[in-house]
């Protein structure tokens, strides 16, 4: 009886697990590709549909920049750069090697803005989306990799079909991210990183 009891205690006290299983558990790393894909497919569309109209954003920023930045922009870090998801309809006036010039309405006047088609880098989409919280990512490289993966989506899935058909004189609706330096705002140098592009005419 005593031997059975000791055997039972010993059996319940020892738990054998494969070393390879342990290694997998300890080596588990953040999967930026899967995370960004999920974010792109499941969460970003809702944010895009709520993107602020560029004209409304500029008007608010010109009257009350503090209000505009707090209402429409986001940034993961500390600093002067703020990011916003914007929506704008415009006329394509030039197609260059690295960008497309877009004429947009701003009240009674017209403004030319730049749509990036080659240099899709940086944190604009990640930060503007407001979907990533710095507190959830103690590894800085994970945050960098999210930006890189989101940018890759634009470079590989958004831009090639658009660039293949777009022509000068087309009207387009662009939803994308912008970076604004809150201390030195230069609206005439605004660059839009596209996330969704639609040719309407």
């Amino acid at each position: 009886m005593l031997i059975v009891a000791i055997g039972l205690v010993a059996y319940k006290s020892v738990y054998v697990k494969k070393l390879s299983d342990m290694k997998v558990a300890t080596d588990e790393k953040f999967d930026a590709v899967a995370f960004s894909k999920r974010l792109w497919e499941e969460k970003l569309p809702a944010r895009l549909s709520n993107a602020v109209e560029l004209e409304a954003f500029i008007k608010t920023a010109q009257i009350n920049p503090v209000d505009a930045f707090s209402k429409y922009t986001n940034a993961l870090g500390i600093g002067n750069y703020r990011y916003a998801l914007i929506k704008v309809e415009g006329l394509i006036t030039d197609i260059n090697e690295d960008d497309i010039m877009l004429q947009v309405k701003l009240g009674d006047s017209l403004m030319t803005t730049q749509l990036a088609t080659e240099f899709i880098y940086g944190n604009a989409i990640r930060d503007a989306s407001g979907l990533v919280d710095v507190k959830d990512f103690p590894n800085t490289m994970d945050l960098n990799n999210i930006s890189e993966e989101l940018n890759k989506m634009v470079r590989k899935t958004v831009l090639p079909p658009f660039k293949a058909v777009v022509r000068k004189g087309d009207k387009v609706i662009v939803t994308g991210a912008i970076e604004i330096h809150k201390e030195h705002i230069k609206w005439n140098e605004l660059e839009i990183i596209p996330v969704h592009l639609q040719i309407i005419q």
Binding site: I78, G79, Y121, G122, K135, P138, M141, H184
Partner: protein, 313 residues
């Protein structure tokens, strides 16, 4: 006897004043600033700004210079813990080697707030306020690629190989330029963030690779060293130099069109945020993000008027 009474009362009041000033309730709280080196103006600025902010928040602040020596840094931490400092604003000497010191402080209940230099632990420091070197280099690399029209031969001069910032800057840079196959890196060497070493490294590289179009350096000191080597070889007009930091001589050089660009860091923002966090910790806050990136801004000839050394105008 009556004549001596006022002197006696004065002496008595001095005694009470003295006693009062030594009461624990009125004792000033102390914050330590441990910095990797005071042999570099950038770190002097970081340390002094942190000390000034701590003093403005009502603390006694003392600066400790580790002289780029982890053992000396360890001695500082031990003395700081024994002396009863309540928080440490920390610029580490070594991403790995400094972790033990931070853990020692943590075990003693002293919070550590890292400034600018990262340590390789996500649990040792209370918070790390760090320049976003990777993203800053991405911005520099984008400008670099545009300036070179996506083709040409270039050199990369790295900082200290054991420092995280060295690789964050290099990786950020390559995350852009490596997408352009006609941009060819002909040499990549370390110059330890040192201006003189960078000059020597560049001189030697130029002998092997006389036809280069650009050089990307992991800090501004090395950018100036590389520029000096290019001047000596008569190539300064042809080769574009890119740095990182926002140091005074590079800001001047960009304004004179001698250096193409740099990434402006903000030591003031990092130092003041660290001091502010220490104050909040002492007052009871505990929910700090482990790492907070501080944006690095691209400075070129086009926007140079918006900037001064170590920050914006």
């Amino acid at each position: 006897m009556l004549k001596r009474l006022p002197y006696f009362l004065l002496l008595l009041s001095c005694f009470f004043i003295q006693c009062k000033s030594k009461s624990p309730a009125d004792k000033k709280h102390k914050v330590a600033i441990v910095v990797s080196t005071l042999n570099n103006p950038w770190f002097v600025f970081l340390a002094n700004t942190a000390a000034d902010k701590a003093k403005a928040l009502g603390y006694d602040a003392k600066i400790f210079d580790s002289q780029n020596n982890t053992a000396l840094e360890s001695d500082h931490f031990e003395n700081i813990i024994v002396a009863g400092f309540e928080a440490i604003l920390f610029n580490s000497t070594d991403a790995d080697g400094s972790v033990a010191n931070v853990l020692k402080a943590k075990a003693a209940g002293v919070p550590v707030f890292c400034m600018d230099r990262e340590i390789n632990s996500n649990t040792a420091a209370t918070s790390q306020i760090l320049s976003d070197s990777y993203s800053g280099s991405v911005a520099i690399a984008k400008y670099f690629t545009q300036q070179l029209n996506k083709k040409g031969n270039y050199v990369e001069i790295l900082g200290i190989v054991g420092d995280n910032n060295t690789w964050a800057r290099s990786k950020g840079f390559h995350s852009v330029v490596d997408n352009y196959p006609e941009l060819k890196m002909v040499a990549q060497q370390s110059a330890d963030f040192d201006r003189n070493k960078a000059m020597e490294v560049m001189e030697s590289i130029l002998q092997a690779h006389p036809n280069i179009d650009a050089v990307f350096c992991g800090n501004d000191g090395m950018a100036m060293g590389a520029y000096q080597a290019l001047v000596s070889s008569g190539k300064a007009e042809k080769v574009k130099v890119f740095g990182f930091d926002g140091a005074e001589d590079v800001i001047t050089a960009i304004n004179e069109n001698k250096v193409a660009a740099t990434g402006m860091q903000f030591p003031k923002v990092m130092a003041e945020t660290a001091a502010q966090f220490a104050d909040e910790y002492i007052k009871g806050r505990r929910d700090f993000p482990q790492k907070i990136p501080v944006a690095v801004e691209l400075v070129t000839f086009k926007n140079i008027r918006d900037y001064i050394a170590y920050g914006k105008k």
